[in-house]
Subunit: 418 residues, 2 copies
């Protein structure tokens, strides 16, 4: 009898937990990702706002896999899966499996707005964060030598779409970068004319959290001089302006889209049913109805629990991935795993350097205690002891000295208009 | 009488020292660079060998300029200088000056070998180091799934051209990355088949240092399994092979060129005399013969001292830049500055994690004492307290744990052949 092979597609939060559960088992485990690192996405906005280096939030998969003797890694892109042949198709050739765990994650959802997709920046991949940071700093540099005051102000206007945690956190970090750091870097600019605008389609921020916390966040951001537009939708954009659904036009050279995610493109190639956002409905044990050897975890999975679809967030992916890995092991022992049950331990979002909101176990926290909890949790979940030290070092620098040390434009733009 | 304006082109070692000397004076100082940071070039090879993040060796110019109230910065590209009109031409328009200090540095010299220039990697800019690191790691990843043993070995073969400090240091760092770090990351590869080849056109390494140290370096590198080819020149290359002058062919997917530098392209646009490497001859006080208000410092300057042309190295640029800044101040006080005199405080080069060679004040050091001196000096000259801490942290990690923590491929390649 041959050694069973488990293939894990995607080394995000779901895939990493699955790999950990399967490590040291007697199974042959192959991890596949198109990047050679696990990315800690929740901190991407910090790279984009010059608070962290990109390398602090990424951890080499091979470094992880060193202590897992039965685990291998291939850097390659998955193009599809043949469920009948039990083969994963990749750009380096086909890979057979006995069990498959798919955790390829999600992609930004532009809701069919093609001009927006063309001009907007988003925050899903490591490169996105560096590109956005470069854009922000380049805009200010360009503003220094821009003679036309209207164009100057448009260069210093940043529109963020989406009032969920990503948009809120980035808006807070960006307004602080401008107010405390760039104001000193650019004494020759009237920094007070810079604008950070947060656009949200519904009537509240952080809609997935209790209303009290959403209201607190709204007031806090406005007190920090973020312009928050509620019940507003972006419908069009080009490289110098953003257009809202009511005809309002905001002259701005930078549009950041964090208004929605959908399943990764791989999902559409799979011969299965699809639900909202292209996600794949799974059984209570996270397997596909017709292919019980295939698990789908994380953002790609569509599963209802207590009348609600589980959200596309990191803790869900982590618990699903850990479950899938353990379930495979249980089945190999001849056992039948219990159905998956997600334990919601709460959620949180920061609003600048020492404020946050958090909700857990029915408790709502705001202000400094919430922020401290956020900091400890994120450092804990970061992978890599050295990464934790570097991140803490950067945050100490920022907290005590109000310095963002990574104000570097790392790729020169061509001299065409921004 | 108007305030005199000093324009400094280039914020390398020369420009930074000039700016420091001019800060706090009554003059209006404008710094120009096409990047918004000062780059610590001597440590580029460490970013390329996954030992440091790129942000650790770059320091924001605006952060430096904060404590210099009379100093401003423009991020722009200089296209030429009109000496008669006393104007610097830039992509953002012309800039007038009363004094000009040009320190635009150097570029890689491929000696007219166009195919080599097309396929070789070099180490002059921050992006170069990240691109080279990605290439090295991508080659190993590709080797994992490569079925042909000959192609596999060519993927794991790295040819470095140039036996000066840059080539020596990179060869040592690369062989250690492969031997101590990648060997553990890629247990499935026969890492012992990887090759690091150092090609030098003359019959010795580190030709600018005493022969004893060059011999020591040669023996050390060979004991670390670097193949050193002396009296050898690369004449041709494509993406899978390197061709030497005697017809030898080395199958290799990565060629790194550190065999020479020449003056930055700006030099060729200037209406002055030119000497070897396109460098600009200067008077004993570093000014242009026909334009005494213009100084040229650093790699671009051609100046003889005691029968030898001053080399294109960082200490020369630092001393020239400091001199030029002080000279401008002296002239504004009505004084005549002494001629420039370079004080050679020695040079050094590392060979891996705890060995180096150094020569100073007639003394030759090798081994561990030289390495310690190298470490302290480089940390001292790095700009930015936080940068020093991060770099020391990375080096501690490397020295004690033999870990190179930055083994990330940060930009995905298209799936075409490497």
């Amino acid at each position: 009898m041959h050694t069973k092979r488990v293939v894990v597609i995607g080394m995000g939060f779901g895939g990493v937990r699955a790999a950990r559960a399967l490590a040291g088992s007697g199974l042959d485990v192959l991890l596949i990702d198109r990047n050679n690192y696990h990315l800690f996405q929740p901190l991407l906005y910090q790279v984009a706002s010059a608070g962290l280096e990109q390398e602090s939030i990424a951890y080499s998969i091979r470094a992880m896999a060193r202590q897992w003797p039965n685990v291998r890694f291939h850097l390659t892109e998955v193009t599809g899966v043949d469920f009948d042949a039990r083969e994963v198709q990749t750009t380096s050739g086909p890979v057979g499996y006995d069990y498959l765990i798919i955790g390829a994650g999600s992609a930004t959802n532009f809701f069919g707005l093609t001009t927006v997709q063309q001009y907007a920046y988003d925050l899903k991949e490591l490169e996105d964060a560096e590109v956005l940071r470069n854009q922000i700093l380049n805009c200010f540099e360009q503003a220094v030598t821009e003679p036309d005051p209207a164009r100057k102000r448009a260069l210093m206007t940043f529109v963020i779409v989406g009032g969920g945690p990503t948009g809120v956190e980035f808006a807070g970090a960006l307004i602080e970068l401008v107010t405390y750091v760039l104001a000193k870097d650019y004494p020759e600019l009237g920094i007070h004319t810079a604008r950070v605008v947060l656009v949200e389609a519904t009537d509240r921020l952080l809609a997935a959290m209790p209303q009290e916390l959403g209201m607190y966040t709204l007031q806090k951001l406005r007190s920090m001089c973020v312009e928050v537009l509620l019940n507003a939708q972006v419908v069009d954009a080009d490289n110098t302006r953003v257009v809202l659904h009511d005809g309002a036009v905001i002259p701005a050279h930078t549009l950041i889209w964090s208004a929605g995610v959908k399943a990764a493109p791989l999902a559409a190639t799979l011969q299965t049913a699809h639900a909202g956002g292209g996600r794949i409905p799974v059984q209570p044990d996270l397997t596909l109805a017709d292919h019980p050897e295939v698990y789908v975890v994380g953002d790609m999975a569509w599963l209802e629990q207590e009348g609600k679809i589980l959200p596309m967030v990191a803790p869900v992916a982590m618990q699903m991935g850990a479950y899938a890995g353990a379930a495979v092991l249980a089945r190999e022992q001849g056992e039948t795993p219990e159905p998956f049950c997600y334990h919601d331990k709460g959620s949180m979002a920061t609003i600048g350097r020492n404020t946050a909101v958090a909700t857990a176990f029915g408790l709502n926290l705001k202000g400094y205690p919430a922020w401290l909890a956020w900091l400890l949790l994120h450092v804990y979940y970061l992978i890599g002891f050295r990464n934790r030290i570097v991140v803490l070092l950067n945050w100490v620098w920022y907290y005590w000295f109000h310095e963002r040390q990574v104000r570097l434009i790392t790729r020169r733009k061509a001299s065409d208009s921004l």
